[in-house]
């Protein structure tokens, strides 16, 4: 009798599952179930997570996605995603992580390296979902900031001047980056520049930002709170440091304002988080337009890529400044490094989850 009941229950469950999935199935001839524009984000996220088809690169880029999954009471596991969008293209990943300025551009556009989906895809934005964590910043070690306050101020001021010009003239900025040794095509570089400009001049709530580099304490606090929740550390000493971390231990906005004296160190290097691309256009513009020379600095831009650890490079003194995500800086400080953010370039999260729309 029990067995019978069990069978009936299973049948019911199966029927329910079928009807649910049937409602998700596209009317197209494709066998994969795509989503429709009328579906709620909650519905889409739950379905994709249930199938284990939410993708992220991991390796420190996953916290917003985990926060989003947790928001919908889902397990925080995800599928590892390669640094291309092939997994998304082949439907292996239904909800793929993408940066608005990079992977999303490749998905939408049909220029070299693009997948050409155009308006056949839609996105879920981390800012709108309330799980945004701040990304690209400028940081150095606490020791360097203390010993070279004028160098830090001069570097930040000139860089922000570069960012301002870049955001006002994204096409020109993209060209400068391209000429400085680009890792991607000129078309993608242009797309990236225009998208990055949006992230630099809009905050997590969609408000216009005019004071470039501003450290928005509310958005920073949200980033720190989410980091404390989702950065899982096996090292008990590190995890204790993370749990008690305060905003003042990771950022200082005093270098954004005030008079700039004679720089203590005039020759400095900045380590990028990735290969040369418009993601970092502000620095390339500042160098090309001589903004660094104006403040008496000679700046070398060191490109990243692969497994370059920008936090390690800055911490051990290979370079003076670095560009990293706030969550990576938090993890590094939890691990015992003494890093300090001196400017927050991106004012909102550039991470979205992209999904295909049923046609």
């Amino acid at each position: 009798m029990n067995m019978k009941k069990f069978t009936r229950l299973t049948c019911l469950a199966a029927a329910a599952a079928l009807s649910v999935s049937a409602s998700l199935v596209s009317c197209g001839d494709s066998s994969t179930e795509y989503y429709t524009a009328s579906q709620s984000h909650s519905e889409i996220i739950k379905d994709a997570a249930g199938k284990g088809k939410v993708g992220n690169w991991g390796l420190g880029n996953e916290y917003e996605i985990q926060a989003l999954l947790a928001k919908y009471n889902l397990p925080t596991s995800y599928l590892s995603q390669a640094f291309d969008m092939d997994g998304f293209d082949s439907d292996e990943i239904l909800l793929a992580s993408a940066m608005t300025y990079n992977e999303l551009g490749l998905v939408i556009n049909d220029y070299e390296g693009g997948y050409g989906y155009g308006n056949k895809v839609s996105t879920i934005d981390m800012n709108d979902e309330g799980v945004a964590m701040l990304e690209d910043n400028i940081f150095c070690t606490k020791e360097f900031a203390k010993e070279n306050p004028n160098t830090v101020k001069a570097f930040v001021a000139a860089s922000l001047k570069g960012w301002k010009y870049a955001c006002e003239h994204p096409e020109e900025a993209a060209q400068m980056v391209y000429e400085a040794g680009s890792s991607v095509s000129a078309d993608h570089q242009k797309f990236m520049a225009s998208e990055v400009a949006k992230l630099v001049t809009t905050d997590t709530k969609g408000q216009k930002v005019t004071n470039y580099g501003n450290i928005d304490r509310e958005a920073m606090q949200q980033t720190l709170d989410l980091a404390k929740k989702y950065i899982k550390l096996d090292d008990s000493a590190a995890s204790a440091r993370l749990a008690s971390m305060t905003l003042d231990e990771i950022c200082d906005d005093s270098f954004l304002t005030g008079a700039i004296g004679e720089p203590e160190k005039t020759s400095v290097k900045i380590q990028l988080k990735w290969l040369p691309q418009s993601q970092f256009m502000g620095y390339y513009v500042a160098a090309a337009k001589g903004y660094y020379d104006e403040v008496g600095l000679s700046v070398e831009i060191v490109s990243g890529g692969g497994d370059i650890g920008e936090t390690t490079a800055v911490s051990n003194g290979t370079v003076d400044f670095g560009v990293t995500w706030v969550s990576n800086l938090i993890a590094a400080n939890a691990g015992g490094m003494e890093l300090l953010e001196v400017a927050q370039i991106y004012q909102r999260s550039g991470l979205v989850l992209v999904y295909k729309l049923a046609q």
Partner: protein, 281 residues
């Protein structure tokens, strides 16, 4: 009449050799250990504890997360052993074929050994993509891709060594077999197979560490489920902890990876000693 042997010089006594070959390295290791633990080493090479964590810090992490680390270890060890076994069997099979068909056998082996020249970093993504359509279970897929990489890496060392064992026989061994009127099968079972046994172990000594390395490195490129309940392999954990600037934790995983390689090697040596015990007598 006393015929006492002349006492050997101190430096020629076996005891002394043991002392120099064991004690000196141990002493050197101990000095490094003390410098490392007291962070004097950090001052000498100009680094910090966060980048080069002390042994006690690493040991602490291992002591606090034993079950988690063992879980990750299993995910690396399982494909290592399966891949090693399958790759070696396949390699032996190739060697048998090559020994049977002498004319093109040696040439064929050269081609097989070419596979060995393909770097793991090239093989891993290829296999990862190749089996994407086979199964949708990520864990099984990841393990399979790792096993395939290891098979390719192990195959050639076994086939080349085993071929040598199957063909380089004792002088007159084949002639003796001929006088017995033994057929090819008997020659193979009674002469070639036993003759190849030590060569099999020579091959395993090379391919065992290689398969551990292959397993660790291919984890950098292979699809995994990450997050709450998952258990990526040691290689993936080393990479993600280094990228997250968690060097102490990365070292804990590196320690486990080393321990895995050393432990498997010791087991192999013990088996080899036992199997080859009565040989050459």
């Amino acid at each position: 009449m006393k015929s006492r042997q002349k006492k050997p010089k101190l430096s020629e006594r076996p005891m002394f050799e043991t002392v120099t070959s064991v004690l000196y390295p141990l002493l050197f290791g101990a000095v490094i250990f003390v410098l490392w633990e007291t962070e004097l080493l950090h001052r000498m090479i100009g680094t910090t504890e966060s980048i080069l964590p002390t042994p006690s810090h690493i040991a602490d992490i291992i002591a606090n997360n034993p079950s988690k680390l063992f879980g990750n270890l299993m995910m690396t060890m399982l494909p290592t052993l399966i891949g090693l076994a399958l790759g070696s069997l396949l390699g032996y099979g190739v060697a048998v074929l090559a020994a049977m068909f002498g004319r093109w056998g040696a040439g064929g082996l050269t081609i097989v050994s070419c596979f060995n020249a393909i770097p793991i970093v090239a093989l891993a993504p290829v296999f990862n993509n190749l089996i994407k359509t086979v199964t949708s279970d990520i864990t099984i897929r990841g393990l399979t891709a790792k096993v395939l990489v290891i098979i390719v890496m192990c195959m050639s060392s076994m086939s080349i060594n085993a071929y040598r064992g199957l063909t380089q026989l004792q002088p007159f061994g084949e002639d003796l077999m001929a006088t017995y009127g033994a057929d090819r099968k008997t020659v193979f079972l009674m002469l070639r197979l036993p003759n190849s046994l030590p060569y099999i172990f020579t091959a395993l000594k090379v391919s065992l560490p290689l398969s551990v390395i292959s397993s660790l490195v291919s984890e950098y490129f292979i699809d995994t489920v990450e997050g709450s309940q998952s258990r990526p392999g040691l290689g993936r954990m080393i990479r993600s902890n280094i990228l997250n600037a968690q060097y102490a934790t990365a070292w804990a995983y590196i320690t486990f990876a080393c321990a895995l390689g050393v432990a498997l090697y010791i087991v192999l040596m013990l088996i080899s000693k036992r199997v080859l015990k009565n040989r050459g007598k």
